[in-house]
Symmetry: C2
Subunit: 106 residues, 2 copies
DNA sequence: TATATTGTTAGCGAATTGGCTAATGATACG
DNA sequence: CGTATCATTAGCCAATTCGCTAACAATATA
């Protein structure tokens, strides 16, 4: 479930936010800091990340503390690795002909 | 480079195509098969995947052979894992307080 | 050369996305 | 209570995305 993790990570700004949060939790204001966009915009992106379960929000008074959800990130990278290793597995099984194609891919 | 890998993977249909291709190369027609959309639509998605370097295309006469690019997939999953492990690393370093937050995230 | 096969391009509309500013909510603090 | 602070909501507009059908391009085959 929650497979629009990739949709959440598709936007460059949201990836920058994730990179920011990987260094520790932050408030909306802190996350907005150096991104060069307005706070409502960041708020919107954080909501998208939250709905995709890439981040969690803990509301403490008037400040919101945003944090990454490693479980969701793990799911996403696992999906990718599943596809990649399945593909790679083809070569282990077959050999010659496919190995050439592999070289083609530069 | 090629960081819109996530944009490429954001679309459900494109993920299905990737899953299909992880089982081996396929032509446009083969990829279209059971997806329930028109061939021009699949053609378009394949082009998107190609531009994002998620797949390569080898044209052989009138049929195009599409194949996954494991290198691009590896880059993407690596980015995710970098963020995730950086986040996880915070807990190894700190402890108590953050451990509680960790439990909150269910 | 005529026809079939494989795929792309063109062009259309509906829907979604992403940014902004202005206004609103809600909590903290003097 | 009044004001500042942290954040979301509302509403607008431009741009992009996604699907379709119809038409075209290119290669194979009879």
């Amino acid at each position: 479930m929650a497979n629009d993790t990739f949709t959440a990570l598709a936007h460059p700004l949201r990836r920058r936010i994730v990179e920011r949060l990987s260094g520790g939790p932050a408030t909306v204001g802190e996350a907005t800091g150096d991104l060069g966009v307005s706070k409502p915009t960041v708020s919107r992106h954080l909501r998208a990340l939250e709905e995709a379960r890439v981040v969690t929000r803990v509301i403490d008074g008037r400040s919101h503390r945003l944090a990454l959800r490693p479980d969701t990130l793990a799911e996403a990278s696992k999906w990718i690795e599943t596809q990649r290793t399945r593909w790679e597995g083809l070569f282990d099984a077959v050999g010659e002909y496919l190995q050439e194609e592999r070289a083609d891919r530069r």
